[in-house]
């Protein structure tokens, strides 16, 4: 009897110590939290660094045309070893980093996961196609994974307070907003279900673009933009590129856009705004959202005004 009780107690305490991480491919059960993590997306890197955990490897390389670490994250990520790029992570480098868990994107790394599984258990989250809520949930789970769930909760609480503050700036009568990434070759709309789209909606500015064919992000032509005719247009561009909208602005249709007529075309750094997607990126985005005048539906301050 004593024996049975003891073993039940042991089992019970083991059960308590167990770490369970539900994710896209099932639930990862570990006996203890982990120290050595490899992060294959910037949101995971941002989150881990915010929790004070330095990953043993992160996909910060530029292979395959990746643009590298977003500027806001560069100082803090400087010491993190690169294991290749997000599109082309090096399996050898990951193996050499001896991770206990690999954090992968459920969509981008789908085909790679079986090979990653042979190196270490994989936790797959929707980062690239995830909404603000999804990404927040991931902060909690990553916190649990590395044994810092309380800290993760604290980060989210602080973030919630910031959101409330930012929301006070929002003009409740502001019209619908259209957000999109402008690269040299394409304009990709980020709908209400995307990370940035859902974050901006949380702050009270409704998105004009809904997901199409189950895609939260999709390309739009100038004709498509003219058809939507947004009253507020937010462009995510990179300072080292000539975005496609630069050419569009030469078309007389551009001047007819409600957002152009109202002088409400904003421009933000696309690396910081759409590629970070972690708690640190969110803080920066909230600050720039307020500063730019976007929330209040004020004309953009010079720094954030799109000048064709």
């Amino acid at each position: 009897m004593k024996h049975v009780l003891a073993s039940v107690l042991i089992l019970f305490s083991l059960g308590l110590a167990q770490v369970q991480i539900p994710h896209q491919l099932g639930t990862l059960t570990l006996n203890a939290s982990v120290k050595r993590v490899v992060a294959l997306e910037y949101s995971f890197l941002d989150t881990l660094l915010a929790l004070g955990v330095s990953p043993v490897g992160a996909a910060t390389g530029t292979q395959g045309g990746d643009r590298g670490v977003p500027p806001y994250l560069r100082p803090r990520a400087a010491g993190v070893p690169s294991i290749g790029s997000r599109a082309q992570p090096s399996l050898e480098a990951i193996l050499a980093a001896r991770p206990q868990v690999i954090l992968a994107d459920a969509f981008v790394h789908k085909d790679l996961i079986p090979q990653l599984e042979r190196i270490a258990p994989v936790v797959a989250f929707p980062s690239r196609r995830g909404s603000f809520e999804d990404l927040n949930q991931q902060v909690l789970l990553i916190g649990r994974l590395v044994g810092r769930e309380a800290q993760a909760r604290q980060i989210l609480e602080d973030q919630e307070r910031l959101l409330q503050k930012a929301r006070a700036f929002t003009n409740p009568k502001a019209p619908l907003v259209l957000l999109g990434v402008a690269t040299p070759s394409s304009f990709t709309v980020h709908s209400s279900e995307s990370f940035i789209g859902s974050l901006v909606e949380r702050l009270g500015r409704k998105n004009l673009a809904k997901p199409q064919n189950n895609q939260t992000q999709y390309e739009l032509s100038l004709e498509g933009l003219a058809a939507l005719n947004p009253a507020t247009l937010v462009l995510f561009t990179a300072p080292d590129e000539t975005p496609i909208v630069q050419g569009w602005a030469k078309n007389p249709l551009w001047e007819r856009l409600e957002a152009v007529k109202r002088g409400r075309v904003y421009q933000f750094n696309r690396d910081n705004w759409t590629r970070g997607r972690g708690p640190q990126a969110t803080r920066l985005i909230l600050a720039e959202l307020i500063e730019s005048g976007l929330l209040a539906d004020q004309p953009p301050v010079s720094r954030y005004a799109f000048k064709p």
Partner: protein, 331 residues
């Protein structure tokens, strides 16, 4: 005999129908888009533009794109017909001869090493790349006598090599080539009047020259010996006709990227309709090529609306089975 007689009698009708199809495709292409503009409205705006958004959409977005498609399709159709006549190989087209690959590679080299090239120069650059590829193919083959089969084989080999080099550049200079407007699957999205005016001065004279040279292509298609005995200056004609065919392909690739198989389908359709006389095949190939590309571009915009599928992928999806069918039938 009766067949060719019937064909001679219906000949004007075939051309009228083909021209009608080309016009219809053009009108259809400017009637479809992200904004729903009623057909009647589009056609009225085409001739009587006003100050409305619809008018701007038709005149600054849809019309230039459709006209670029028209020129590219016509150029590829005529180029394919000429190359098939010159090489006496029904499986030949600018893609198979390595010309598209050469033009695309030259454009990539321009983007990577000489950024900021003006639009008119890119056409020239693409044509130069196409000519170089063709010269390479001719050079390789001429050393061992110029037979059609060898020419096609050398073309495929050189094309594969150039394609590999282009992929190499794409991987090595991904940052720089990503912004490049040329897309290796071929697309017409976002083409403007600028692109139209950039290729028109090359494509239009080349198209006219192609028609003017059609009788010479007829002679060459009979074989070098026969052509020579009929008084053709074989070497000279081959050179000029090849130059024109390559220029057409280069102009097409410089605005739309490499679009495979169009230069194969259009001439075969033309030959099926009017027989093998290149005086008819070349202009009809141009008309059919233009219609086919316009219709494919309309379909490319409707397949996954409002997203756009690159038209090149759609044309390959149609052209590849046709190539297999031809190859199997030839044994």
């Amino acid at each position: 005999m009766t067949l060719s007689l019937r064909r001679t009698q219906t000949l004007p009708l075939v051309f009228v129908l083909a021209a009608g199809l080309a016009v219809f495709s053009l009108l259809l292409a400017i009637s479809v888009g992200a904004v729903d503009i009623p057909l009647g409205e589009v056609w009225r705006l085409l001739f009587w533009p006003d100050d409305s958004n619809s008018s701007l959409i038709v005149h600054t977005l849809r019309l230039p794109r459709a006209l670029v498609a028209w020129l590219v399709g016509a150029a590829l159709g005529a180029s394919g017909a000429m190359m098939q006549g010159l090489t006496r190989n029904p499986l030949t087209e600018p893609g198979i001869l390595g010309v598209n690959a050469g033009a695309a590679l030259a454009l990539l080299v321009g983007v990577v090493f000489f950024p900021g090239l003006p639009a008119w120069a890119t056409v020239l650059l693409a044509a130069l790349g196409g000519v170089t590829a063709a010269a390479l193919v001719y050079g390789v083959t001429a050393a061992v006598s110029l037979t059609p089969v060898r020419l096609a084989l050398a073309g495929i080999a050189v094309g594969a090599m150039l394609g590999a080099t282009a992929t190499f550049l794409l991987i090595l200079f991904e940052e720089r080539t990503r912004g490049a407007f040329i897309n290796l699957s071929g697309s017409l999205a976002g083409r403007t009047w600028e692109h139209f005016w950039a290729i028109l001065p090359w494509a239009l004279p080349a198209l006219l020259l192609a028609v003017a040279l059609s009788q010479q292509v007829n002679l060459l298609s009979l074989g070098e010996d026969v052509a020579r005995s009929l008084g053709a200056r074989v070497g000279w004609v081959r050179l000029v006709a090849t130059g024109v065919a390559v220029l057409l392909a280069g102009a097409a690739v410089s605005v739309a990227g490499p679009i495979g198989f169009l230069g194969l389908i259009a001439p075969h359709l033309a030959r099926w309709l009017v027989g093998s006389d290149y005086r008819r095949v070349i202009p009809l190939s141009a008309l059919l090529g233009a219609s086919l590309l316009l219709l494919a571009d309309v379909a490319a915009r409707l397949v996954d609306r409002p997203l756009e599928t690159p038209v090149g992928i759609l044309v390959v999806a149609l052209g590849a089975p046709f190539f297999v069918y031809l190859a199997r039938r030839m044994g």
